[in-house]
Amino acid sequence: EPEVTQTPSHQVTQMGQEVILRCVPISNHLYFYWYRQILGQKVEFLVSFYNNEISEKSEIFDDQFSVERPDGSNFTLKIRSTKLEDSAMYFCASGGLAGTDTQYFGPGTRLTVL
């Protein structure tokens, strides 16, 4: 069964550094998402991406963040100048065209900012 994959599984970085989190969505999906989960808290939406542009973003997704689909398979989340409060689990998800489709989540990347 196809699945969403994410790399790396754990990323440790120093405050102020840039990180890129990578995701490979399910191949025939058209919508891509990033979510964040701070330890002990609920999963929060960051951004959705469709047809090579952002379709929706939350207030969390400020200028520090950017997303890109550099090729036909990868979907990346870049965090510029990381802050301590960016430490969280970051989930990538993908879904099909119709609203009936479920979003399938990747295993997550645990980001630790020191």
Partner: protein, 115 residues
């Protein structure tokens, strides 16, 4: 924005018994989808069950079933014959039927299964 409320931060159940996790949501939309996701200690989000709001019949998936009350905006998850592997955090989630819409998650219920 839509809100999803899970009023039980923690629940426990004896192995082989049945447990029900509660979820309520607030929306002005008529067409939407509801989900339960399981998050074990590995923190991966695993889909347990989904329900289309236009369907009156409650979804079932093996030992997992839901009680969907659209008028009351309630969406509870029943786990029958609980197993040790069911121990996890369970999140209720809502999404609009509009293509590409985000998920709104509840705060989760931590389920402990007692041997």
């Amino acid at each position: 924005a839509q809100t999803v409320t899970q009023s039980q931060p923690e629940m426990s159940v004896q192995e082989a018994e049945t447990v029900t996790l509660s979820c309520t949501y607030d929306t002005s939309e008529s067409d939407y989808y509801l989900f339960w996701y399981k998050q074990p200690p590995s923190r991966q989000m695993i889909l347990v069950i989904r329900q289309e709001a236009y369907k009156q019949q409650n979804a079932t998936e093996n030992r997992f079933s839901v009680n969907f009350q659209k008028a009351a905006k309630s969406f509870s998850l029943k786990i029958s014959d609980s197993q040790l592997g069911d121990a996890a955090m369970y999140f209720c989630a809502y999404r609009s039927a509009k293509p590409g819409n985000q998920f709104y998650f509840g705060t989760g219920t931590s389920l402990t299964v007692i041997p």
